[in-house]
């Protein structure tokens, strides 16, 4: 392995003048250095889109290999061979099951957890550990960041999100514990800085070991503080301090890691520091996709969740000539004009997915490409936005999971097959096997022929 192209941290920090249109070319070898430790590890990306999908233009007409891409999936033509479209999955715990309305909130909170969220607008929020976090618990310690949570909408800042459910259920898909949703980062610049720059400029000159020793003393102090406080408080309060201490431990781990990998840290991909949130929504999504690719490519993490929009999002899609709100439209009442607009929005989202997949595919890794090592789960927790049904979900998996998924196919599972069967099978492939996940009843054996 050679290091012909390495960039110092400083270069990247100052890097605004250095523009690389295709950063992955430059960073290729670096990525391989990182990845080589684990012989091309598998990666998991989970992408959520809101308000269901216009299913007649999503579901391929035929099963097996060689299916014709329906209208919404057409933008995926360049990566069709890397796709597995899975039809017929259901999330039973997204249904009311006695809790009344709130399908949008449930559709997001159940998407990766398979757990029935507790209906509460404030006290005692409860869902379940999400599949990405289950994986992070198993393999997160192998990378600088156990996982990343990204998104494009900052959650509601006022009012109610959905029928008596706290907004926490609508604006997060990753749950570290049943009571802790993980907030997502929506600003590409901040993601980049978190991944690749050292914020502490004051002591940048001091040598690394000394700095780390001080940082650790500081963390020791605040952790001791938190533990003393925790001993005095009630259970709900203790849980808050548990969250705090988890955060402390994660930073500690990263510092220790940085000490061990001084060399690795000095090499970085060359990528122009991205902007703050751009006004063009498509560009925003693509920047978040870029951040996803960079994080995976540099093995900063192997697990990313990404919400293209929050559950029930009523964003207007003027950039594709759909001025109406997405959620308003999704209650189409069978109106063909609204169907047409919804599928435009669905296709727009899939176009961004295609951008991500093509980027992943453009990066060689091992014998194949980065995409080959990935499992990109894409879908919505609702099927038809008008009926709010949680069966026949629009779901696809892209990437071959390190050769464990036979792609290029459309498979149909029996009606009411739990989506958790798929999630359970993804966990197996991430080296995070468990006996069951959510309401899983079996593994999804048909991922392979």
């Amino acid at each position: 392995m050679t290091y012909q192209q390495t960039f110092s941290r400083r270069t990247v920090l100052k890097g605004l003048g250095v523009t690389f249109a295709l950063p992955w070319l430059e960073s290729l070898r670096t990525a391989q250095v990182f990845a080589s430790q684990a012989a091309s590890p598998r990666r998991m990306v989970c992408i959520f889109v809101p308000n269901g999908v216009h299913m007649p233009d999503w579901t391929p007409a035929t099963d097996g290999f060689g299916f014709k891409l329906p209208y919404i999936l057409e933008p995926l033509a360049p990566v069709q061979d890397d796709l597995l479209v899975v039809s017929g999955l259901a999330h039973d715990k997204g249904r009311a099951n006695g809790d009344g309305p709130g399908d949008h909130a449930r559709s997001a909170s159940v998407f990766l957890t398979g757990a029935q969220p507790r209906k509460t607008s404030g006290a005692d929020i409860r869902s379940g550990v999400s599949v990405d976090q289950k994986a992070a618990q198993a393999i997160g310690h192998l990378t600088r960041f156990p996982s990343l949570q990204l998104g494009c909408e900052g959650g509601r800042s006022a009012g109610n999100c959905d029928s008596g459910y706290s907004c926490a259920y609508s604006s997060n898909i990753s749950w570290a514990s049943e009571s802790q949703p993980l907030a997502k980062e929506i600003n590409p610049r901040l993601v980049f800085e978190r991944l690749f720059t050292n914020r502490s400029s004051s002591d940048a000159e001091r040598n690394r070991a000394e700095r780390h020793a001080l940082q650790k003393s500081l963390l020791d102090y605040i952790a001791a503080d938190a533990r003393r406080l925790q001993a005095q408080l009630g259970k709900n309060d203790q849980r808050k301090l548990d969250e705090y201490l988890t955060g402390v431990r994660e930073i500690e781990r990263r510092i220790e890691r940085a000490e061990r990998e001084a060399l690795a840290e000095s090499t970085l991909v060359a990528y122009k520091s991205p902007t703050d949130i751009p006004s063009d929504y498509g560009e925003h999504i693509r920047l978040m996709c870029d951040m996803t690719v960079l994080a995976l490519q540099t093995d900063s993490t192997r697990i990313v969740s990404l919400m293209f929009a929050d559950a029930g999002s009523n964003r207007s899609y003027r950039l594709i000539d759909v001025p109406e709100g997405h959620h308003d439209l999704s209650h189409h009442g069978g109106d063909p004009q609204k169907h047409a607009k919804i599928r435009q929005i669905n296709r727009f989202h899939v176009t961004q997915l295609s951008y991500l997949l093509q980027k992943l595919k453009s990066i060689p890794e091992g014998e194949g490409t980065l995409l080959d090592q990935c499992m990109v789960l894409y879908g919505s927790g609702l099927s038809d936005g008008n009926r709010h049904n949680h069966d026949d979900l629009p779901v696809l998996v892209a990437g071959r999971g390190g050769g464990t998924i036979d792609t290029g196919r459309h498979i149909r599972v029996a009606p009411e097959t739990p989506m958790c069967n798929l999630l359970l099978s993804l966990l197996d492939r991430m080296g995070a096997s468990v006996d069951y996940f959510g309401d899983s009843t079996d593994r999804l054996w048909t991922l392979q022929v």
């Binding site: 009344g100 309305p101 509460t120 607008s121 404030g122 006290a123 005692d124 929020i125 949570q149 900052g154 959650g155 800042s157 006022a158 009012g159 109610n160 999100c161 029928s163 008596g164 706290s166 907004c167 926490a168 997060n172 570290a176 802790q180 993980l182 997502k184 980062e185 600003n187 978190r194 914020r199 502490s200 004051s202 002591d203 020793a213 001080l214 003393s217 500081l218 102090y221 605040i222 503080d225 003393r228 408080l233 259970k235 709900n236 309060d237 808050k240 301090l241 969250e243 705090y244 955060g247 994660e250 930073i251 001025p323 709100g325 209650h331 009442g333 004009q337 008008n386 009926r387 709010h388």
Partner: protein
Amino acid sequence: MFGKKAEGWQKSGAAGWTQGGPSADRKQGQMSFKQLPVSMETDKLWLIASNYWESIDFGKRDVGHVRPFVRVLYLVAVLLFAGSVRAEAEGDYAQALVPFLKTYCIGCHGGNAPEAKLALDKYLESSRIQTDIHIWEKVLRMVAARQMPPADETQPTETEFAAAQRAIVAELERFDCSSERHPGRVTLRRLNRAEYNNTIRDLIGVNFRPADDFPADDVGEGFDNIGDVLTLPPVLLEKYLAAAESVLNEAFARPELRRRLVPHVAQSDSDRREVSERNIVQFATRAFRRPLTEADKSQLFELRRVARTAGLSDDEILKFVFTGVLTSPHFLFRVEQDPAPDDEDGIRPLNDFELASRLSYFLWSSMPDDALFELARQGQLHQPDVLASQARRMLLDPKARALVDNFAGQWLQLRDVAKITPDPERFPSFDEELRAAMLRETELFFETVIREDRSVLDFLTADFTYVNGRLAQHYGIRGVEGEEFRRVALPEGRRGVLTQASILTLTSNPTRTSPVKRGKWILENMLGEPPPPPPANVPELKDEEELLGTLRERMEQHRTNPACAVCHQQMDTVGFGLEHFDAIGAWRDKDGRFAIDASGILPGGVEFRDASELMQILAEQKKDAFCRCLTEKLLTYALGRGLVSYDRCAVREILRRLVADNYRMSALVTGIVLSEPFRFRESKGEP
């Protein structure tokens, strides 16, 4: 509020429309018990009792010793009027609720093995409200949300639903608040983004706004300061560390700021350490918002020693220790101790420093100022008169602007004005300037209600507002030009915040008005009476012209499903009262080719011609519902937790004060500050 409450508006008929809390009769000075629902009588007795309580209690820390007397007085009073009260209450219960229970509930919720272990057949004689209030809260929630009876069972008519809800609400109102104290328990709250920014501003002296880069705080109960919902993901702790470092670097680089943070200067090498430690104690005391314990100090001094051993300069040592302070849980969380095992009833009064923080984060979304700290140090802040006068002082401070940004921003959803997207083809006059002006108008109006201590009913009926040239043009008000806002009288037709462009636009679709959204918004946010959710899979109104006429005529033609009509009649009547305002809040006489008809008949047969009359009617006949709704929202915001059944008692008392003081804003705020949930903490409710 109180879970998913949907009382009130469901009331049909004149009685329902006019009845409510304690205010209606008091305003007229009448004491004719027979015409009044039970709640008003008990409320009046409570008024007598609690006035006495206050008159002797000011300045005393422990109120326990007066309570038995209050209870006796209360009981005597209740007994005196018991005859008339009970007759009416039981009549309502027996006539409206018992048949409902028999017909629709006890088939499953009764017998030897009741569903969900909820036996309702034991309530056929009496509601047993005093012991079983939590059961009724739950029943009300399920009925109001139309979750019970289940869809596959025989359904009550809407009239039956409404009557049952009304009867349950009446039972809940009968609950005797003197029987037990329940101040409730707030989960440890971390500072949210606004609070973090403001606290850093007041602690350091410059408005750095580092939290603008933090991930969004999740919203619960309509607000982003709810302890249970404010989680702390690892990424946030990273941001706290980074923010602390960058803020302190900036502050230490600026001499005037550095002097503020490091006021004590060593005169010689020998007192370097002592002076340095004094600086640390001073900073941490303000940051933790309380005096430091010996343990706090020794930990911080140890941190200083570590930095010193590493060879840092004096300033770097302090920066390092201060970074520790700004990332300590004592800074990031608002810590309140739970009651000790020997506290009576598991309840303890908050100490003066805890109260100082409750006050300052309620009214300023920031840390206490020197005056509050000083009163806390003197042990005076918990005295009710001191608390109330501090609250009034704080409302007049410019920092009370935080109430506009954070409370009004969420109650009236002004934060969403930044996100509205009117269709540029239909509304070419909408631009960023107008968006900004809309927002500013409502902010200025809210500020005025606080600053001039106006009646909260002005939110409904004020005949003035604030406009600049752009907004005046939008409203068709002559003679106002330029960017500066000024106070103007409103033309006939516009009254209160509900006719301001901000809210009219927030409650519209991008392409047209939505009377349903407007009506629903008013029911939910102004009257606290959200309509039950729509059944699934309802066909939507089509935009094309297959039905003819104005939007109103088309909707009325469209509304043929009787299951929809019952609720929509309520929402739409109010919403159509605002039809003279288009989807960006401009006045219009016509909708397309058709003349606007903004008249309507409210439940109970009250007629109105236009928005002005509608607002007047709301302020007169729905005054109690409005005040209750506002009180519940503001109390939720002040406490940082959702309200639960026992909070009814606090709300009742706050409303009493509000009415007694002519609905003044300050009366509402002081009522909250003096309420038991605000001043006390209990260990019950802990899972």
